[in-house]
Symmetry: C2
Subunit: 393 residues, 2 copies
Amino acid sequence: MAIKFAARMENIKGSAIRELLKLTEDPSIISFAGGLPAPELFPVKELEEVTVKVLREDGRAALQYSTTEGFLPLREKIVQRMKKASVECMPNDILVTAGSQQGLEFSGKIFVNEGDIIICESPSYLGALNAFKAYQPKFVEISMDEDGMIIEELEKALEQNPNAKFIYTIPDFQNPTGRTMSLERRKKLIELAYKYDIPVVEDNPYGELRFDGEILPSIKSFDTKGLVIYLGTFSKTFCPGLRLGWVLASPEILTKYILVKQGADLQCSTIAQREVSKFLEMYDLEKHIENLIKIYRKRRDLMIQTMEKEFPAGVSFTRPQGGLFTWVTFPEHMDAAEIMKKSLEVKVAFVPGQSFFPNGEFKNHGRFNYSNMPEDKIVEGITRLGKVLKSMI
Amino acid sequence: MAIKFAARMENIKGSAIRELLKLTEDPSIISFAGGLPAPELFPVKELEEVTVKVLREDGRAALQYSTTEGFLPLREKIVQRMKKASVECMPNDILVTAGSQQGLEFSGKIFVNEGDIIICESPSYLGALNAFKAYQPKFVEISMDEDGMIIEELEKALEQNPNAKFIYTIPDFQNPTGRTMSLERRKKLIELAYKYDIPVVEDNPYGELRFDGEILPSIKSFDTKGLVIYLGTFSKTFCPGLRLGWVLASPEILTKYILVKQGADLQCSTIAQREVSKFLEMYDLEKHIENLIKIYRKRRDLMIQTMEKEFPAGVSFTRPQGGLFTWVTFPEHMDAAEIMKKSLEVKVAFVPGQSFFPNGEFKNHGRFNYSNMPEDKIVEGITRLGKVLKSMI
């Protein structure tokens, strides 16, 4: 028997991270591999209260089918939240999705014919790249510095690739690098999007988790022509287990996302949407986020300080102003997969960086998550890895 | 500005039903249009208890990311449920999905290249057809009689279409016709699948809601070669608002569904999976289903009896042994869309049948749902429609 799958399936590989996560379920391993928020901060008690209320007030509606677009009171509250990203919008501009991951997958489906170009940061979020790959695009990677995508390179890429379908960017505390695009570059990016008439997919799961300084205006906030598609999520500010995020886009574009959502799974969980909406009425999410920031900031500080102290010369790393990750660059001749092997021997895990490059060129990087490990384990894990690195260099 | 969408988007249209549902939100309308289960039967109180328990026992895990495959204890319980369909399987054969709708969408993605053939019943489930259309297939429709797909026609189609990628069938109380495939035809269908080496997507959302006689063995139960992909759901036996269903398939095929799920939305809601699993531990779902059957059977009986009494000669309808729908055939010269217009004038709604035919040939049918309306409204609505029909014939 030879089952004939669609050609696109040859492009779809498992996420190296998800495979790694299985390895690191062993509790004796200190894992910087995942992108998980800290579960000890989840509002478990509050969610219980909220659920009881939702079920008692209108349990039947909460368990029934509802509209594809999403629960209106929740969309109204998302409109309010978008002000933090300096965006003015209306509930009808918003579609509720199963995390921002679903918005990413839809973006591939809606825009990409086989062979089309997606322009993205180099490196970029693995889960997005994998979702896009199902639609058989080619990737043009734009180098980054500490201020995000290098704009001159972006312009060259736009000039040379008239079949580019969209620019994919994570401007705030990027996954995997932790870097943030500067205000100036955000403005230049939107200018280029207009000049080349190309949509921008702005993926912003971490923006509200800023430890230092002020939140920068989103790229969407500068968009007067409706070319920016903004993806948001409750996974990092509330909890990921409910699988709720959103797409914000202009009507012509959002219509396509709604149609695709209908075919994909009809709608998001009715009760989950009502729970988050009720939570936002009953509790102060801002206060919860402040608490997250306080704890994650401390974890970042500890990780960076310990890296400064324990990593040998020749190993560098980013200093994120928020989010969940720092990006480590090893000497060019080193292969992070080899380092990971030795690192696992001392029970420390991280994600080797190669799979974050859609064309797979660079092997000497690693992504380190600090949000999911307690402080003592951060110090212990980075110290152990420091020893491994010293022995290898 | 001219945004360049992917070619597939030209194929994606809104579901006529979902648009209709908006019309029928007016509570003064008696609607047979939706495919909604009766909300007054949802286990609201039980779900409250279950949620409190899940959150108190392991709230942090319930709100965190988890595996793509799904919560193992839930998959173990699905294995048990599959025995009702005469299937022996293992938890690793199962992927938890966002309703069976997601399993349908994935089937298109996994198997269909542009121009490939999907073989399906004529008529077939609109939501499946819409999900498949994103992958630009052609549809070959197989006529049905009261015993389901006509097997001779299926064999001819398989012979003539070597690029057919799968057979899509809803063997039990089919949507929209309410018809059930006979045992003999199930066996012949699997023989043909083997002969032509073609996968079968067996969609079974209603199978457990049988009002008369015994549940027939699923097509999957005859499958020794792993060619049948079985889609199940909790939407009709428990509640649709949680968005939980499953795919059961052989390892080679299931691997593809898992990879696609990872890109699509990473995983289903962690807490929803734990809630359903806990419900199945604490309560007797069989008893709940018995109750559903008792009430839906009465509603079906009333709808059929009233149709027999009130519809004029020349109008026929199916007599489903379970599920949610009956399928009405109007005289050939009549257009159901026209009937629907007049019907709405007397505040009665149903779904005109044309969109259930993927190639759109037949206009003289309508789908009627009886699960979502109380008994008096069923009698009143069908009686009103009977008058409309008499005036038109």
